[in-house]
């Protein structure tokens, strides 16, 4: 099967400042991958290369069987949809519906089919009720979801989300999580740039960690989260459930809420963990 994305010995510099060094990675269709690393590690630059907005100094980026370096961004948009970090400031149409429709119409999707895709994308994110609103009458986090709906309407084979959860509350994060799972299950590869390791470990399977422009970890995100020393070295915060498992030495060291819950329930039932009362407030 052709990978959804493959980077081979990719290097890139802004002026004389190297940002990516010899990056190689492959993402298969249907995979859910977190791209993580500290501020300035090169994450956003990698997404710009994938979208065709920058050209690699050396090495190649392939989206499916296309060389991203040989296609214009508007051609790549047939396969890659990118929601940039400050997507809430990128909407320009007079209604959410028109904004979501812009992408498919620009790709030449016929009106009726574009209409179907727009309605489906809005429904996937529960945005039907705000479809006729002006984007700038909505709070920034909801605008961010509208930008995500615009990406979904492109029917991409690779979906790249840069910090999709910033400023989102629990309910909105759940909608983003649902969309990531559903699109991946339908075969779309999803690459999520995030500092939010707690969200990433709940929703994504694999972690690709950049540090100083190089790939320093590529493997199961659960494995990364069970290694506090490595997390610290990479400037990443240990996600709370992983920290809890470690502090309480929970069997199997679960890192996700739904995996930890039955273990905590069993420990409490057997007296291994006492009842936690009101006295246990903040330190």
């Amino acid at each position: 099967m052709t990978p959804a994305l493959s980077c081979e010995r990719l290097s890139f510099a802004y002026g004389g400042r190297p940002v990516l060094r010899d990056v190689s990675c492959v993402v298969a269709p249907g995979e859910r991958v977190a791209l993580i690393g500290r501020n300035g590690a090169g994450k956003t630059t990698l997404t710009r290369l994938v979208a065709g907005l920058e050209r690699a100094a050396s090495g190649t980026v392939r989206v499916g069987d296309w060389d991203a370096g040989r296609h214009r961004p508007d051609e790549l948009a047939r396969r890659v949809a990118v929601v940039f970090q400050h997507a809430d400031q990128q909407l320009f149409a007079r209604t959410v519906r028109e904004d979501v429709a812009f992408g498919p119409l620009a790709l030449g999707v016929p009106g009726p089919e574009a209409g179907v895709r727009v309605a489906a994308a809005l429904a996937e994110l529960d945005l039907g009720s705000v479809a006729s609103e002006h984007p700038y009458d909505l709070p920034p986090p909801v605008r961010k979801l509208a930008a995500l709906a615009g990406a979904l309407a492109l029917a991409p084979s690779l979906l790249v989300l840069d910090e999709p959860t910033t400023g989102l509350d629990r309910a909105l994060r759940a909608r983003v999580a649902r969309v990531i799972r559903a699109r991946a299950a339908a075969g779309c590869a999803v690459l999520v740039v995030t500092h939010d390791v707690a969200f990433a470990v709940e929703v994504l399977d694999r972690a690709l960690v950049l540090d100083g422009g190089a790939v320093v970890f590529d493997g199961a995100i659960a494995e990364l989260c069970r290694d506090p020393t490595r997390l610290r070295t990479l400037g990443l915060r240990e996600p709370p459930v992983a920290a809890l498992s470690r502090a309480l030495d929970l069997p199997g060291r679960p890192v996700r809420i739904d995996d930890a819950a039955p273990i905590v329930a069993a420990c409490c039932a057997s007296g291994g963990l006492p009842y936690i009362g009101e006295s246990h407030g903040p330190t």
């Binding site: 509350d169 809890l244 407030g281």
Partner: protein, 265 residues
């Protein structure tokens, strides 16, 4: 000693019939850190703008009730707000980070030497000393957020208002920011912080205020506020550690942090 007091405050944005804040009463004392949590659109940012004196003065609209901010006039002593999108807070007047950080105290009319000393100290505390000669417009979001933090620290505020201050920061950056918030409270500032980083709240704040539809739904210790199932069903939820206990079907109150869970062991 109360640094910020809101008494029965309601606020309407211009051309809106629906109040963005609804009969809100809230006090934040000297040395206290209070976390403001709520769903998107609940009014957390509006409350911070009201507390900062920007609403309705800058935003327009109408305010009912009383807003009082008290601080020692000698050492800075004012109220400052750190906005969630740092580039919206750039003065546009500083060609270097050092100038940008000096913008606040310069407008307070401080003598040059005092501005210089306070600026260098604030830049060091915010972790941006090495960026002092850079043009703010060339910085990344995370760098800019720390520069804006340095800008507000320079003014040695009596009331520090933070709106999603870690939005642009990585793990280390967020931990450093929370440490600075604690230091500020330690020197006597009152800190009111709106955040969706609920995992950080229990170890940071002594009180949590839950806003829903512009009104205060709960105001209390983190363990108590997050023990209410309603905040999980209708509100912003709570820390992941409590979520584990909740998902396990155990009755509240739940431990709200790793520290609390480990202590109970």
């Amino acid at each position: 000693m109360t640094r910020l007091s809101l008494e029965r405050v309601s606020f309407w944005y211009p051309a809106s019939d629906r109040p963005a804040l609804c009969d809100v009463s809230l006090r934040v004392g000297r040395g206290e850190i209070v976390a403001l949590v709520g769903n998107v659109g609940a009014g957390c940012s509006t409350l911070l703008c009201v507390a900062a004196g920007l609403a309705p003065r800058v935003t327009g609209g109408r305010l009912d009730g009383r807003v009082e901010c008290a601080g020692p006039e000698t050492a800075g002593g004012g109220r400052v707000l750190l906005l969630p999108a740092p580039w919206t807070q750039l003065s546009g007047m500083g060609v270097t980070v050092r100038d940008e950080v000096a913008f606040g105290p310069a407008n307070l009319g401080w003598p040059l030497e005092r501005i210089r000393v306070a600026g260098e100290r604030a830049m060091a505390r915010a972790g941006v000393a090495d960026l002092a000669d850079r043009d703010p417009l060339t910085l990344s979001g995370g760098e800019l957020q720390r520069v804006m933090l340095a800008g507000v620290l320079t003014m040695e505020p009596a009331l520090l208002l933070l709106d999603e201050p870690t939005a642009e920061l990585d793990g280390d950056g967020a931990a450093a920011l929370w440490a600075v918030a604690r230091e500020e409270a330690g020197r006597g500032a009152a800190v009111l912080v709106a955040t969706s980083d609920l995992d950080a709240v229990p170890d940071l704040a002594s009180r949590v205020v839950w806003l829903a539809d512009g009104a205060v739904r709960a105001d209390g210790a983190p363990a108590a506020v997050f023990a209410d199932d309603a905040i999980w069903r209708e509100g912003p939820g709570g820390p992941a550690v409590a979520d584990v206990w909740r998902a396990a079907g155990l009755a509240p109150p739940w431990p709200v942090s790793v520290t609390a869970a480990a202590r109970a062991r």
